[in-house]
Symmetry: C2
Subunit: 381 residues, 2 copies
Amino acid sequence: VKRVTVLGCGRVGATLARDLAADPALDVSVVDADQRNLDGIASLGVQTRRMDLGATETIASAVENCDVAVGALPSMLGFRALETVIACGKPYCDISFMAEDGLQLDAIARERSVSAVIDCGVAPGLANMMIGRCHAELDHTEDVTLYVGGLPKVRHWPYEYAAPFSPADVVEEYTRPARLIEHGRVVVKPALSDAELVDFPGIGTLEACNTDGLRSLIHTIDAVHMREKTLRYPGHFELMRVLRETGFFLKDAIDLGGQAVRPIDVTSRLLFPKWSRPDGESEFTVLRVVVAGRKAGASLRYQFDLYDETDARTGQTSMARTTAFPAAIVARMLASGTFAEPGVHPPETLCRDRRIFDQVISELAQRGVVVEEDVAGVSPS
Amino acid sequence: VKRVTVLGCGRVGATLARDLAADPALDVSVVDADQRNLDGIASLGVQTRRMDLGATETIASAVENCDVAVGALPSMLGFRALETVIACGKPYCDISFMAEDGLQLDAIARERSVSAVIDCGVAPGLANMMIGRCHAELDHTEDVTLYVGGLPKVRHWPYEYAAPFSPADVVEEYTRPARLIEHGRVVVKPALSDAELVDFPGIGTLEACNTDGLRSLIHTIDAVHMREKTLRYPGHFELMRVLRETGFFLKDAIDLGGQAVRPIDVTSRLLFPKWSRPDGESEFTVLRVVVAGRKAGASLRYQFDLYDETDARTGQTSMARTTAFPAAIVARMLASGTFAEPGVHPPETLCRDRRIFDQVISELAQRGVVVEEDVAGVSPS
């Protein structure tokens, strides 16, 4: 029996804990600063510990007795936790979003012979695995497009969107310039540029725009063209462009009769109720990855499609499921030794090994998250 | 020579002063609290007096020696000025917008044998004259629609609008419920309801929505259906509905970490630069009034169309011109005694007399403001 410690028990952490706790080969312990979050998973029979993970020493003590650690922490704690878990010499699978570049810690992880997999959710995460597999199979990767979106099933005017976190965090995606690859070079474009309409069978027409989500792929995948596009119902992005253009997303304070007010604070407060999903209405996650390239002189085009929605039985959101399951699966690989290569790895590196990719896809399917794969080839003429 | 005192020298007041000063039969004096406004009309050779018109005594002293007074004051001063000018026994023509109902002072004006014409701009103003004339001619007024808008000639994304005053004042029109007449009764609908697209030859397609602009017409015109609709370029109103729905127009403060912030204050500040017209770009005013009814058993349909744009020679905006000229023309009628009926009159009452209507239209045409009139009749079958 291996001991697994889950750092953080938000929606994703709780879903991770539930998944891991179902495995008799694992002894699961969950750590969070908020007792209510821990109470929420009391029925799982896992060990819970209330600890504030803001300090290095607390993180170190939280992972001290485990064989594998899994991170599902707020973005401001992510990098510090990664650094500390590596320093403690524990295998780590992380889905904490962080502004910092976790790959910077690769050399230290190798030195300590620790294996850490980061960005291991859906996108980043599963999408990287798909791209990593194709890139390994192709001689030449020409074009990569990653479409991803989490949306409410019921569309409410005017935004037709629900945010699982603070509107300010979403707005950050709508303002941070997007890095993409064009003709082999990194190009920076405004967020929400290059709008296109894309049809998804059974979902309908969604709108896709550039967002800054490629992260590690920019460094690890040698493609001619590569971009991430976020999906929303058509019209949402235009409203976001209007609010952005008007100044409602500004982080700098404006002076209102001696009062310094940050427009984004007002906007985030006003959007919060408009971007919350009414009780009883479900959400879904859609991911499409298209990779085109050449192998042995022939053109090949891979397309992966994932659609998942709120689990009516458990109430788990597709956002939590699709983010937590890849991490739970990889955590098991770290526990079993299936993957043990030292260093800090993004998911695409892991899936250069086709067996690992196939195992992830197969285990996701067992959890009801089905990835459809289509490979079309054109032989050299 | 009659002495005319103009109260207020903003854009409209200055245009009024210029118009009246050109008349050798008038001796014009202009009063304003701001010396810069008075300096702007120094070249006209009119008498200027710097006085703060916030107090009753100042208004009384300002109109003391005149034969006719004309008001072009900010809305908060409008009603007080009307009351005071009546108390001073001076004929008065007013275009100051006021939230209060000036007709309340009708009995006092009759008592003092003073003739006052209020709301005497374009809409309210000229539009009321058109409706008043038709109503007087018809046996039965069935349907009245008043379309009005002031727009920039050059459309800038996203709002395609320029406000001659503070965005907060425009937003007030977008939030105050609209009173209209349906089936002979006053009905209240949300502002910006009943959107329709309307084509204007040479201008293109504009969008029209309900706004609360009928004012005195609700009481004076006995119509089956009557509504005012404001015109904007298509799409503007939808953005306004989105901002309103989100809460950006709220006048109640929200608490942001102990700071009380009124969303409308932030919004007005951010919209201000987006709603200003770049130097060198002109604006236009469009007014269409449609009145349908029956006369001697036949159906009659009147349509009046006015289009006016920034005067390239003087730089006067069409907003200032179309607002100031009807008041200047009526002020002359008061000075000459052409109109001298005691009481407080809205413009529609004045134009029950067809000769007055014709004179207004003819004098507007002399100033380059052309009203096209089309009357179509269907004889009883």
